[in-house]
């Protein structure tokens, strides 16, 4: 069953917490992965792969660079989840 927007944000929060050690409550749609959440380009790959597994989506490398904020990633997953 497709995840809701809220479920995706909280799922991403768990992933970012696991990978970058940022408290889940700080992971909000308007936050930038690199500027606000200490997720650098390599950690972003780990976030993406974890999100792919969690939400059953494919996020190609070419699309990853467009996912600047948690909201961008949430919208992408909402649109592409099967």
């Amino acid at each position: 069953m497709a995840a809701t927007q809220e479920e995706i944000v909280s799922g991403l929060a768990e992933i970012v917490n696991e990978i970058a050690g940022i408290p889940t409550e700080d992971v909000k749609p308007e936050k930038s992965f690199t500027d606000d959440l200490d997720v650098d380009s390599l950690s972003m790959v780990e976030v993406v792969v974890a999100a792919e597994e969690k939400f059953g989506v494919k996020i190609p490398d070419d699309d990853v660079k467009n996912l600047k904020t948690v909201g961008d990633a949430t919208d992408y997953i909402l649109k592409h989840q099967s």
Partner: protein, 344 residues
């Protein structure tokens, strides 16, 4: 008529008998890299785990580094150089393609008329060479095989490319593979993914310089012609290395019938500390497994990285002879090779 052909008599198994390495004398700290790129020591360390690397001087050619490493490996194996009957050298940074540098090494090390050839398997070169050596020994075409990874990647480094300038190092790592009564090298899980051949490449082919079409060639800020360099798509390589190569590493363990709990040492290609850390996490290796982290002070030396790291772990007592080690190389091609070995 079809005559009956007598096959060669091989050894039942093969193993690594000795290892040796050579690191150039000049140590290059991140501060020196920063003369050419807008970055910081902290950034380089956080993205790669690299603090220093060795860069070869004019006298430290691929051949000289290889001879040093080979001599140590032969001594470590307790054999005479004259007993080596095949020499396999993996390099992408020896700039005279013909003849193969392996022939010069065989001659100068005292291996006489040993079979000698070069291979080009990028950062998987050591695993590819090891696979070939094992096959030769078990089949019977050779008894003692020298396998070397030797690189001067500083020659293929674009000092102004802030994503790669800090990555590469120089050095040579060698092993002697020989006959064994017990299996000392597991099945190789190796292969290529040529659909990703553009992910890590030399910027321009050498033939571009012959044609002389300057518009196709890399130019410096002053308009001068630049030497080719290695370039890579960092995020794509990272994703492949961590997640796809963890699967390959697991397959190598499974093929050898070795559980992660029974592993003593993990020696992945020393590409980047972040890749190493993520692979360890993805593979869920137990705490007791010693992980090679030679990249911190050696940088990425491509085919040389695994034998160099192996030698250092043994020399520093972090690993010991007889330990069971998982080795995996991966890189330009893309190519990969993983296997489980008994350390010499």
């Amino acid at each position: 008529m079809t005559a009956k052909i007598k096959p060669a008599q091989g050894s039942p198994y093969a193993r690594i008998l000795g290892v040796g390495g050579y690191r150039p004398t000049r140590v290059v700290p991140n501060e020196e890299i920063l003369k050419h790129i807008d970055s910081s020591d902290e950034w380089i360390r956080s993205r790669s785990g690299i603090a220093t690397r060795h860069w070869a001087g004019p006298e430290e050619t691929v051949a000289e580094m290889t001879l040093e490493a080979a001599g140590k490996a032969v001594a470590n194996a307790g054999i005479a150089a004259s007993q080596v009957d095949a020499v396999i050298i993996s390099t992408v940074s020896h700039f005279k393609q013909t003849p193969a540098i392996a022939t010069e090494i065989a001659d100068r090390m005292g291996a006489g008329k040993a079979a000698a050839f070069d291979i080009n398997a990028g950062c998987a070169g050591f695993g590819y060479g090891l696979t070939l050596a094992k096959g030769l020994i078990v089949e019977g075409s050779a008894r003692y095989v020298l396998v070397v990874g030797a690189e001067r990647l500083s020659d293929l480094t674009d000092l102004t490319d802030r994503s790669t300038a800090f990555l590469f190092g120089d050095g040579a790592g060698a092993v002697i593979v020989g006959p064994s009564d017990e299996p000392g090298i597991g099945p190789s899980v190796w292969g290529s993914e040529g659909d990703k051949r553009d992910v890590i490449t030399q910027t321009v082919p050498w033939s571009g310089y012959r044609v002389g079409d300057v518009s196709q060639l890399p130019l410096g800020e002053d308009g001068s012609l630049k030497f080719p360099a290695l370039r890579q798509e960092g995020q794509t390589v990272f994703r492949w290395a961590v997640f796809e190569m963890a699967k390959v590493a697991q397959q190598a363990l499974d093929a050898a019938g070795v559980a992660a709990e029974d592993l003593d040492v993990f020696i992945p290609h020393q590409a980047n500390m972040r890749i190493i850390d993520s692979m360890v996490k993805t593979l869920k290796l137990p705490e007791h497994v010693t992980v090679a982290r030679d990249v911190e002070t050696t940088g990425n030396t491509s085919a040389a990285s695994i034998p160099l790291a192996m030698e250092r772990l043994l020399a520093t007592g972090k690993a010991k002879s007889g330990d069971t080690a998982l080795v995996i190389g991966f890189g330009a091609g893309l190519v990969y090779a993983a296997t489980v070995v008994t350390l010499p």
